[in-house]
Symmetry: C2
Subunit: 189 residues, 2 copies
């Protein structure tokens, strides 16, 4: 029992984690993943993404047996009907979720047991950019602030180190801070 408890830290199976890392070191091509989303417009600001299939570790995934369905919307003041969080809010969630999971994995690897991880994110936007009224402001957030509250069985400086390492390794933090090349194709028929 205590061996099992030692092995599972922060809900992460450390034996499985080390096994995965070893497999990737031995066979780097297993690291190639492709994630996907399919979106369709419903009405106005209401659209819906379905997410299930992905490629990874040398094959098309067959283990995920459910489709995640995500509805987007806008509040009334941005001409929507609140059919879901808006796209910019989804981006904040993506960032919060990725920093948190990375932090939890890093802590597990460093043998830190966490008891609480919370974060509040704020993104500042002048919507005149996206609405096409002003070219002097950008379309997206001018900045994002993330405030973490982290508790666990380690001294504050160790917990801070874990958060710093999470920033250094988070996939979405990398994308949101550094940007990603995006190609857009259109079929009209």
């Amino acid at each position: 029992m205590s061996q099992v408890l030692d092995r599972i830290r922060n809900g992460v199976d450390s034996e499985q984690m080390y096994g995965t890392l070893d497999a990737l070191k031995a066979n780097p091509e297993l690291g190639i993943f492709q994630f996907r989303a399919h979106n369709h417009w419903i009405d106005g600001a209401h659209n819906r993404s379905k997410i299930q299939a992905f490629y990874g570790a040398g094959q098309e995934d067959t283990t995920r047996n459910q489709t995640f369905v995500l509805d987007a919307g806008e509040p009334a003041i941005l001409l929507g009907a609140d059919t879901g969080a808006n796209p910019a809010e989804y981006l904040l969630h993506a960032l919060a979720a990725c920093l948190t999971t990375t932090l939890v994995y890093v802590a597990a690897a460093r043998k830190v047991r966490l008891t609480e991880v919370e974060s509040t994110l704020e993104g500042d936007m002048d919507v005149r950019g996206a609405l096409g009224i002003s070219d002097e402001v950008r379309n997206g957030f001018s900045r994002i602030r993330v405030s973490f509250k982290v508790k666990g069985d380690a001294p504050p400086e160790k917990l801070r180190e874990v958060v710093e390492r999470a920033q250094a390794r988070s996939a979405v933090f990398d994308m949101v801070t550094n940007g990603v090349p995006v190609e857009v194709g259109v079929v009209t028929a």
Copy 2:
């Protein structure tokens, strides 16, 4: 009836849209918005964001009467239990949703009636970066491909123009392609 139909295009009330744009032109400070997300860790790769409050148009919003709850996870091969789409997939959804809504609004403003908007997004990632195994690959997607299928009562070139304009104005497209400054603070007590 036909006046109402003329006014509502693609689920967007064009009279409300022009009213909003006029108000923002007259009072640029109404364009200042702040969007927020609160996230808490549950276990392993499972964490949850709650999204409701935002600031915009000169005041704290009071119209949104529901909290959007978003669960994140990872598939088993990435040490999770599929408790939700993963953070990188949420980013794809944010991008799809923003491009789509922007496209729908642009079409409404240009008097194009859309009948179908679908998109497929693919993001390529070598997970050795985020897992800390390799410094030679980045943590996030190396690239994202977006494939739109758009139909409506306009010639193909007009529909393509609408998609191009959506790219030029989408908040999340701007953020994902250009990056955003992100500040991270930590409280450990």
